[in-house]
C-alpha cells in the first residue's frame, strides 16, 4: 500500500490534497517515486549505461512516472501500450520494454481486467475506433462502424461419427464423453409416462398419437399403459438424439465431408461441391476441428489408404453401436442404474474434460491422461488433492456397494488392471468400481482375459480402461511423490551435516585461538616477572651502594624504573 486515506483529515484540512489508495503487489514494495531502484537499473540497463543521449536515467524516470500516473487516473481500466506511446517521445520498442516492466511488477494494470476479457477489450476498442476521416479528393467519407466482420469459427459440436479399426474395438473417433457414459447421465426432460422415472438410456416412443414416452424398464415389464401393445412403441436410442443436438454440422454432412476429403484430398472446390450445404471456409475449419482431420488429409495425400474401407465401414459401426446399446439395455434388466452423473467425477477436475472427444481406445488413455496431467499442472497441489477427494466421495456416493467393498478391503485386482496396490484411495476405489462393474449380472466372469473383455459392452470397457489409466497415473504419482520425499530427506540430512561441520570448524578455530592466547598470556607473565626481577635487582644494587638520603620517598618510588636518576643522586652527594 502506498498511502492511506484519512477521512477525518478531509473535513478538517481542506487545503491538504486527498490521498488516494493504490494497490501494488508486495513484491513491488521497493518502488518509490523519488528514486530509481537497483531492479529498474538492472532490467532496463539501456537507460543507465550512458550509451545514448536519448536514454538517460532522467528520461527513464519521466517515462515511468508518466505511465504510472496515466494508469492511476483510472485504476479500474486496463492501460494499453497504444495509449501511452502516443504521448511519449522515444523508440517504441524501448517504451514497450518499460511498459512491460511496469506491468510485470504490478505497478500498472494490477487489478485491472485482463486482456482476455472480451468485454473490456471491446470497450477499449470502442474508444480507439475512430471517427470520421476524409479519404480523398473525391470526398469519400469513411465513418466508423461497429465491427461487422463475420465470425469464422464454428461452434464446437458433439457429433458421433464412426471409424473402424481392425480389431473392431475402437470407439467412434468423435464419441464424446456423454456418449460413453450416457447411461449414467440423466436424459433431461424425458420422463416416463408410466412410472415417472427419468428415461436414462433410451425411451420408447409410442407411434400412436398423443402418447408419452415410456422408459426401458416399463417397456420390458409390460407396462405399456392402457390399450397399447408392444408394436406401438418405437425404440429411440439416446445416442441418436445426442448426435443431433444443436449441431451446425449434421452427421450426414460430416460424413460427406470426410468422404470427399479422402477422395479429393486438398482440393477444396470439389469438396465443397460434394458437401453442398457448407462453404469452403466452413469445410476447412470443420476439418481442422475434427481430431483426426489433419491426419486424414495426410493419409489421403500420401498414403494408400483406400477410401472405401472407411466409408463403407462407417455405417456398420453405427449400427453395431446401436445393437450394443440394445444388448446392454436388455441385459440390465431390473437393475437400477441410479448412478449420478459422472463416473467422470473422477474427471471433475475441470469442465472442459467432458467435452473433449475420445478418439480411440488406444488414444483415449493418452488424451485423457494428457488432460488430467495438464489440468493438474495448472492448478495447485491443494486443489488437485481436493479434486481427488471429491472424486472418491462421488464414486462412493454413486453406488453403496462400492463403499461396502471398499470397507471390506477385498482385493479384486484383475490381471489386466495390473496396477500394484497402493495406499491411494482413489485408485482403490476406481478398481473397486471396475470390479463392481464386472459383477453385474449380465456377464459374470469377465475378470481376466481380453477375449472376455470384448464381450463387455463398449462403454463399460471404456470406463474400465479409463479407471485403469487413472489408477496407474495415481500410482505413478505416488511413487514419484515418495521419491521426492526421499530426496528431500536426503537433502535435508546433507544440509544438517554441512551445518554441523561448519560449527565444528568454528569451534576448532576458537580453540586454536584460545591456545594461542594462553601461550601469549604465559609469555606475558614471564615478561612481567622478569621485569619485576630486574627492578628488584636494581633496587638491591641501590641499597647495596648505600643511599642514605631519600629526598622524596614517593618520587624515588615513582622513579624506581629509572636507575640513572638514582645514581645521579648518589653521585651528587
Amino acid at each position: 500500500m502506498e498511502s492511506t486515506p484519512d477521512p477525518s483529515s478531509k473535513l478538517t484540512r481542506h487545503d491538504e490534497p486527498e490521498l488516494d489508495l493504490y494497490t501494488i503487489p508486495i513484491h513491488s514494495s521497493w518502488f518509490s517515486w523519488d528514486e530509481i531502484h537497483e531492479k529498474e537499473k538492472i532490467s532496463l540497463k539501456e537507460f543507465f549505461d550512458g550509451s545514448s543521449i536519448s536514454r538517460t536515467p532522467k528520461i527513464y524516470k519521466e517515462y515511468r512516472d508518466f505511465i504510472i500516473s496515466k494508469y492511476r487516473e483510472d485504476p479500474s481500466r486496463r492501460l494499453t501500450f497504444a495509449e501511452i506511446r502516443k504521448s511519449l517521445v522515444g523508440d517504441v520498442s524501448l517504451l514497450h520494454k518499460v511498459f512491460l516492466f511496469l506491468e510485470r511488477w504490478g505497478l500498472i494494470n494490477f487489478g485491472a481486467p485482463g486482456g482476455e476479457d472480451s468485454a473490456a477489450v471491446a470497450e477499449g476498442a470502442e474508444r480507439h475506433r475512430v471517427r470520421s476521416e476524409d479519404g480523398a479528393p473525391n470526398g469519400i467519407r469513411v465513418v466508423a462502424m461497429p465491427n461487422s466482420l463475420k465470425p469464422i469459427t464454428m461452434p464446437l459440436t458433439l457429433d458421433v461419427n464412426g471409424e473402424v479399426d481392425e480389431n473392431g474395438f475402437r470407439l467412434p473417433p468423435l464419441a464424446s464423453y456423454s456418449d460413453v457414459f450416457c447411461d449414467l447421465t440423466k436424459e433431461k426432460g424425458l420422463v416416463c409416462g408410466n412410472c415417472g422415472d427419468n428415461c436414462d438410456s433410451g425411451h420408447y416412443n409410442c407411434l400412436k398419437q398423443g402418447s408419452p414416452v415410456i422408459c426401458v424398464k416399463c417397456f420390458k415389464n409390460g407396462n405399456y399403459g392402457e390399450n397399447r401393445s408392444v408394436d406401438d412403441f418405437k425404440f429411440n436410442d439416446c445416442n441418436e438424439n445426442r448426435g443431433n443436438q444443436g449441431a451446425v454440422w449434421t452427421e450426414a454432412e460430416t460424413l460427406l465431408l470426410l468422404e470427399s476429403v479422402l477422395k479429393h484430398g486438398d482440393d477444396w472446390e470439389l469438396v465443397v461441391q460434394n458437401v453442398q450445404t457448407k462453404t469452403k471456409l466452413d469445410c476447412i475449419s470443420k476439418l481442422i476441428e475434427l481430431p483426426f482431420g489433419e491426419l486424414m488429409l495426410g493419409s489421403s495425400l500420401g498414403k494408400s489408404r483406400a477410401s472405401n474401407d472407411n466409408t463403407s465401414s462407417i455405417k456398420p459401426v453405427q449400427t453395431s453401436l446401436e445393437s450394443q446399446e440394445n444388448i446392454k439395455n436388455g441385459g440390465q434388466g431390473d437393475e437400477q442404474i441410479n448412478e449420478s452423473e459422472q463416473n467422470g467425477d473422477a474427471e471433475n477436475q475441470g469442465p472442459p474434460l467432458k467435452r473433449k472427444c475420445i478418439t480411440s481406445l488406444s488414444d483415449a488413455g493418452i488424451s485423457l491422461m494428457k488432460q488430467v496431467a495438464v489440468i493438474s499442472t495448472m492448478v495447485g497441489p491443494h486443489i488437485s488433492a481436493a479434486a481427488a477427494d471429491a472424486a472418491v466421495a462421488a464414486l462412493c456416493d454413486e453406488n453403496p456397494c462400492v463403499k461396502d467393498i471398499f470397507d471390506g478391503a477385498e482385493d479384486n485386482v484383475t490381471e489386466e488392471l495390473g496396477s500394484p496396490i497402493r495406499n491411494n484411495e482413489l485408485e482403490r476405489s476406481l478398481m473397486v468400481e471396475d470390479s463392481e462393474i464386472n459383477e453385474r449380472p449380465t456377464l459374470s466372469e469377465m475378470q481376466k482375459t481380453s477375449s472376455e473383455k470384448n464381450a463387455i459392452p463398449l462403454p463399460l470397457q471404456m470406463r474400465a480402461a479409463i479407471a485403469t489409466a487413472l489408477g496407474a497415473a495415481a500410482a505413478n504419482a505416488k511413487s514419484l511423490a515418495d521419491q521426492e520425499h526421499r530426496e528431500i530427506e536426503h537433502l535435508v540430512a546433507t544440509i544438517i551435516e554441512t551445518q554441523m561441520k561448519k560449527l565444528h570448524c568454528k569451534i576448532q578455530h576458537f580453540e586454536d585461538l584460545e591456545l594461542i592466547m594462553e601461550k601469549e598470556y604465559t609469555h606475558l607473565k614471564e615478561l612481567k616477572e622478569s621485569i619485576i626481577a630486574e627492578r628488584i635487582d636494581i633496587l638491591q644494587r641501590v641499597f647495596n651502594a648505600g643511599i642514605s638520603r631519600w629526598r622524596d620517598p614517593i618520587s624515588v618510588k615513582s622513579h624506581t624504573g629509572s636507575p640513572i636518576l638514582v645514581c645521579d643522586l648518589t653521585d651528587a652527594r
Binding site: S52, I53, S54, T80, D91, E133, V142, S148
Partner: protein, 243 residues
Amino acid sequence: MKPLPSTSSKNPVKFRMPTADNLVPIRLDIEIDGHRFKDAFTWNPSDPDSEVVVFAKRTVKDLKLPPAFITQIAQSIQSQLAEFRSFEGQDMQTGEKIVPIKLDLRVNHTLIKDQFLWDLNNLESDPEEFARTFCKDLGVEDPEVGPAIAVAIREQLYEIAIQSVTSARETRISKKGRRGAEHIPASKASGTALDLMKLFGNKSSIIRKRREWDVYEPIVDILSNEEVDVLEAREDRNARRID
C-alpha cells in the same frame, strides 16, 4: 581532426535489417491477363533459393491462379532477394538514429494509420512483436492485419538501411577527398533521423505536447464493403498511372 560526437559512436556494421530477425520484406504485385495478384510478406534470406520456386508453386495452387504466375512470382521474389543480397557485404552507418515510421495501409476491411519513432540502432527490435501488441491493444480481429503492419515497418526500415549504406559509401568517398567533409556527411546521414539533442536534451521534456497526441495516435478504421471497393479502385488507378 577531432571526431564529431555523432560520428564517434559510429562503427560500421555490415548491412543487415536492424531487427532481431534478419527478414526481408517482399512485395508482389503481378498482373497477367486481367488477374491481379498482390501480396506482401517477409522472407528469410538464408533460406535456399529452391524454396522460392516451391513457394511460388504452392501459392499458385492455393489461390487457383493461372500457371503463368509461377515464374513471375518466383522471378519477382528472386530479384528482390538479389537486391537485398547486393547490399549485404557493405558497411552501414549505425549512428544515433531514431527515425519516424509511418503506417498507412489497408488490409481487407481494416484501415490503419499510425506514426511513431523507431530506433535503428536497436538491432534487437521486433516489428512482429510491435504488430502483435498493436492488434491486441486496439482489438483488431482480422488476423491478416498484424503481418501487414510488420511488413510495412520492415519495408521502411529496409529503405532507411539502404540509405545508410549509400551514405556510408559517400562518406568514404568524400573523406578521401576533403578533410572538412566530415561535417557534411554526418548531417546528411542523419537527414531522416531526428535531432536527438533537441528532443532528449536537458531542456525539453519527453512528454509530447497534447496537441501532438492526435498525430501520433494509432487509428484503426473498419470499412464497409462499398468503401473498400472505392479505395481499391483508386489504388488500382494510382498503380496504373505509375506504370
